[in-house]
Symmetry: C2
Subunit: 393 residues, 2 copies
């Protein structure tokens, strides 16, 4: 009973607890999979009705101007910017994360000195980054070298053009040291490209502060943009003038309606745009970002650590020793906003958890993954999740 009481105390003192009312979540569900698909912000369905019914159905083509459709990619980019520590004008929304990895990595290779023929990629990355990095290297005549994040320092050298790393490992939940890795990459004369899929919206990133060169991220995890919502691309202001996109679509043109046969790239973040923006998804994302109004990322991080700490505490109290192996690092400096636990029968265990209203996810072959989203997960949820996990085990 100690942990139930403690959860109630923590919830009562939680300054972010009021944000949960902004989300629509099924009654009684403990949703610890927001690191895969964020929950639905309540305002989104109404906004979608307005976009489809009025902006599309009534205003039709006029909405490209009058409803601000045309400028949505950079406008929404500026809404995401403060969440990842970027000044305005450096982020543009659109395309999938994979497509943005391609833009960012080819862009980084082209920004690097010509003689540098090697690209390092996080070997533990979410696979798509590695697949796309392989294509980016192949199409620019570079060699791709997969290395574990802890091997990056030793692998950097005069041949390194660019390094693609994940801020938080999607499987283990390990948080990598973005400031020091970026500094080391720069010291070696290379460019740092960061994938923020599992960190943006859960912890401070500090893109500008730490001098990151390029970055990408999805918006459907901690940013709650909806299933497969558009991803984003960050190109640091100092690189924008030389950023040479491998996907120079017409909406990234300096004068897109001039319809000229020569490509003249736009200034600023807009250069990262490709085709016609996908308005329904994009404006749903814009609406979903309202839940961040007045929220400080530092307080999100504080709650996130408190949630994962408390989960580990409850698991330790409830689950017999030796039944689970902790995959996520204990040190706060190395922990994202998820807890990964290993057990042989993880697939079956997750099915049983879901059947009892505790939703996490299973990562092949033996990992239970629980994501803690500070805007709508409370300490009571955490206690219940650990209790149900113990029951299932």
């Amino acid at each position: 009973m100690f942990h139930v009481k403690r959860a109630a105390e923590l919830d009562a003192a939680d300054e972010l607890a009021k944000q949960r009312a902004l989300f629509s979540l099924p009654e009684g569900l403990v949703y610890l999979d927001g690191n895969s698909l964020g929950a639905l912000p309540r305002a989104v369905p109404g906004r979608l009705q307005d976009v489809a019914g009025r902006e599309w159905g009534e205003l039709l083509i006029r909405s490209w101007d009058e409803s601000g459709w045309w400028t949505a990619p950079e406008r929404i980019g500026d809404r995401i910017a403060p969440l990842v520590g970027a000044a305005a004008g450096q982020i543009v929304v659109g395309d999938s994360t994979s497509v943005n990895v391609f833009k960012a990595l080819v862009g980084a290779i082209r920004l690097a000195d010509d003689g540098r023929d090697e690209v390092l990629v996080d070997a533990t990355t979410f696979p798509t980054d590695g697949y796309i990095a392989e294509s980016a290297a192949r199409m620019t005549g570079r060699t791709l070298r997969p290395v574990c994040p802890e091997e990056v320092l030793g692998a950097l050298g005069p041949r390194t053009a660019a390094v693609l790393l994940n801020h938080v490992d999607y499987r283990s939940g390990r948080l990598h040291d973005l400031p020091s890795l970026t500094a080391a990459i720069h010291a070696a004369g290379a460019l740092a490209v960061w994938d923020l899929c599992h960190s943006a919206g859960a912890l401070p990133v500090g893109l500008d502060e730490h001098g990151v060169d390029l970055a990408v991220g999805c918006t459907y995890k901690y940013l709650n943009g909806g299933p497969g919502s558009p991803a984003y691309l960050y190109v640091a202001a100092r690189h924008q003038e030389r950023f040479d996109s491998p996907l120079p679509g017409w909406t990234g043109h300096a004068n897109p309606f001039g319809m000229t046969p020569e490509y003249a790239p736009a200034d600023g973040a807009v250069r990262g745009r490709v085709g016609t923006p996908d308005i329904l998804s994009m404006l749903a994302l814009e609406s979903s970002l309202d839940v961040w109004e007045g929220v400080d990322v530092a307080s999100v991080r504080a709650k996130s650590l408190a949630l994962t700490d408390f989960f580990l505490e409850c698991v330790q109290a409830y689950v017999p020793e030796g039944r689970l192996e902790l995959v996520t690092p204990l040190a706060h400096a190395e922990r994202g906003s998820q807890v990964a636990l290993r057990c042989d029968d993880a697939g079956e265990v997750m099915k049983a958890l879901i059947a009892r209203g505790v939703v996490g996810d299973f990562r092949h072959p033996d990992v239970l993954r629980f994501g803690f989203t500070p805007l709508y997960v409370g300490f009571g949820d955490v206690e219940r999740a650990a209790r149900v996990l113990a029951e299932v085990l």
Copy 2:
């Protein structure tokens, strides 16, 4: 008055007239811009509510399986297939047209014989195709050669790897001869890549019948998928096994949830997938395709030609000779589903038309463009558009 009476007769005899009730269009508006943004199918807002509120909000992550989200790209591709004359299993939906042009053209270059170092592109194309083709050529070490469609035959040769052409010219509305151009490209040993943005949903394409190699198209014009809705990629079945995408994202992997570091491409159209599908836009598109149930593309084409013929007839009757120059070819075999008219003050004329409830669009510097979408434009609309045009002029 003759043309008013004639319009009423044509509308009364129009077997597609009943489809208009499936669309939500503002009262009294003559919408001739469906070749830029198709009108809203009535069913879409309700479907979006269900996708956002129930599938996302209640089922959450389970919807990837239970609501069929994961297979949406290939399922919706199979819905588009009959509209462009393709058997099932060759079309996948996702990404923008620009991104798909990149996949298709790089794919075609890689399918062509190694020694072929030249890529031909329609010099009159919608600009993004040319910009992306330039990048595709650059990144594969080929030379891009822009040629007018009528110059293609003379430009083909042993150096030609691939040719990217538009089925219908976005500006003039000219329909190019896909069967004979494709045959000529094949006779030269090259691959034909067609952009169907301005033909799919307006006229028969016959991708399989004419042996097209790869094709792309958008879904927000004659297919009414919504602003910036996902585009599609066609890879002919005979090429799929060797199709080597420059954007090998995880969702095109043979075993995407295996999360293996090596890329093993899926069989079939699925290989053309890249990142996580954008579900809100994709399922809105799927819903919008219901308006095609029971509709035969041949009857759409017959009505489209009748609409453009009647528009030209009314314009000739109402507008003083010499005031407008016809840009679109008169021959049916060379006409898409739009009429482009040139006049010096086209920008001002279009503004005045729109102010009077007749919506077409203006293409820099001097073109009035009117799109005729057979599913929701009637002959009465056409007569009124011509009459208002004459008044404005």
